[in-house]
Symmetry: C2
Subunit: 220 residues, 2 copies
C-alpha cells in the first residue's frame, strides 16, 4: 500500500508517520519509484505498537528502545523482555545504587524472588512502599504474605497467555500487557471492594462496627 | 498547641494551613484568646489526611467530600465508604448513563458482582478494557476467570485489615489504602513477572520458544 493508505489503515496522521520514519521508529517502505514507497502489514503493526506506547505515556526514546528490541532481540528471551519492560513508565528521577531501595529489597527477599536490583520496578516498589508508610498504612508482613500468592498467580496468568510465535508478538504482549492491564486490575480491585463491602456493610451503621475511638476518648 | 507548632508537627506550611482553614477542610482550633487558637491531635491527623490526598492528585473539592464524610458520615458504612472512594482519581471526562459501559457491565455480570453502575470504578474499568481491546489484548473470559479469584482475594485482605475503631480510621484507610496500594500491587506484579520469567526464559533464545511467525512466512 502507499503511504496515504497506511495513514488511513493505521489512523496515524501523515506528518506523524513521516516523523516516525525520520526518527527510525518505523522501518522504511520498499521503494517502488523515485518518489514512492510501498508499505505492508509490518508497517501497520509497527504503527499500532508505537501509537499504543505513545498513548501509555512513553517518550520517543523509550519507544525506540522497545522497537529496537523487536528488530534486534538480545541474546535471551529473558533479557529481551526485561530490557523492553524496563522502558515502561513510571520513571524515577534517578536510578539508585545497589544498596538503596531497602523497603523493596526487604519485601523481595521475604518473598524469595529473583530480581535485578537495577530493574526500574524495584525503584517503583520502593517509592510505593515509602508512600504507604508515609500515610500510616505501611506494608506489614501480614499484608505482604496475604497479597503475594495472589499477585504471583496473576503474573502466572500473564505469562501463560503470552504468544511466542515471534519476537514481535512476545515483546508487544509483554510491554502492552503490563501497562494496559494495570488499570484493569486496579478497577477490578475497587469493584471487588464494592461487592465485598455490600455483603459486609450494606445495612450497618458505624455505631454497629465501631468501637470507641481512643482519640475521641482523650478529649473527654 | 499553637498554629506555629501545628506547622512544625504536620510539616504543612502556615499559608497552606490557613488556606485549609478558610476552605473548611481543617476544623477551627479552640479560641484561647482574641488572636490565638489552640490545636490538637485531630488537627494533626486531618492535615496528614489532606496532605496524603493532595499528594495522590485529588483536587480540593474532592478532598472536601472526603473530610466531610469523616465529620458527617452517611447512614451506613457502605454508603459512607462508597461516597469517599468515589472521590478518588482517575476522573472520567463525564459520567455515562446506565446503558453505557458495556464491557465493564459484561465483566461484572460474568463475575456475579453487586455494583452501582454510577460508581466511577465502572467507568474506569470500561476505559481500561477499551484500551486493552485497542492494543489487541482484549479481556477474554479465560483471562478474566483466571484473574478474578485472585483480585477478589486481594480485596478481601484489604477489608480484613480495615480498622473500625472510628469513622475517621475507616474512611482514611479505605481511601488511602485504595490509591496508595495500587502502585505497590502494580510493582509487585512486574517483579513477579521478572521472577517467573527468570525461571522460564533465563537461558532460552527466541529460536527455542518461537514457532514460525505467520507474518514472516507471508514475506518469504
Amino acid at each position: 500500500m502507499r503511504v496515504s493508505e497506511l495513514v488511513v489503515v493505521s489512523g496515524v496522521p501523515l506528518a506523524t508517520v513521516k516523523y516516525y520514519l525520520r526518527e527510525g521508529l518505523l522501518m522504511p517502505g520498499a521503494a517502488s519509484s523515485a518518489t514512492q514507497s510501498e508499505y505492508g502489514e509490518e508497517h501497520v503493526r509497527r504503527l499500532a505498537l508505537i501509537k499504543a506506547l505513545a498513548g501509555a505515556g512513553l517518550p520517543i526514546n523509550r519507544i525506540r528502545t522497545i522497537v529496537g528490541l523487536v528488530d534486534t532481540p538480545a541474546d535471551t528471551v529473558f533479557e529481551t523482555l526485561g530490557r523492553a519492560l524496563a522502558a515502561l513508565p513510571p520513571y524515577a528521577a534517578e536510578a539508585g545504587g545497589p544498596d538503596e531501595y531497602p523497603r523493596a529489597r526487604a519485601v523481595l527477599e521475604r518473598l524469595g524472588q529473583v530480581y535485578d536490583p537495577t530493574y526500574p520496578a524495584v525503584a517503583q516498589l520502593e517509592r510505593a512502599l515509602a508512600a504507604a508508610e508515609d500515610v500510616g498504612i505501611p506494608m506489614t508482613s501480614e499484608r505482604l504474605d496475604a497479597y503475594a500468592p495472589h499477585v504471583r498467580a496473576i503474573a502466572e496468568v500473564d505469562l501463560q497467555l503470552m504468544p511466542t510465535d515471534s519476537v514481535a508478538s512476545a515483546v508487544e504482549y509483554a510491554v502492552l500487557g503490563t501497562v494496559i492491564y494495570e488499570p484493569v486490575l486496579a478497577a477490578l480491585r475497587r469493584l471487588a471492594h464494592q461487592d465485598l463491602g455490600a455483603g459486609m456493610f450494606a445495612d450497618r451503621t458505624f455505631d454497629t462496627v465501631a468501637t470507641p475511638d481512643p482519640h475521641e476518648q482523650d478529649d473527654q
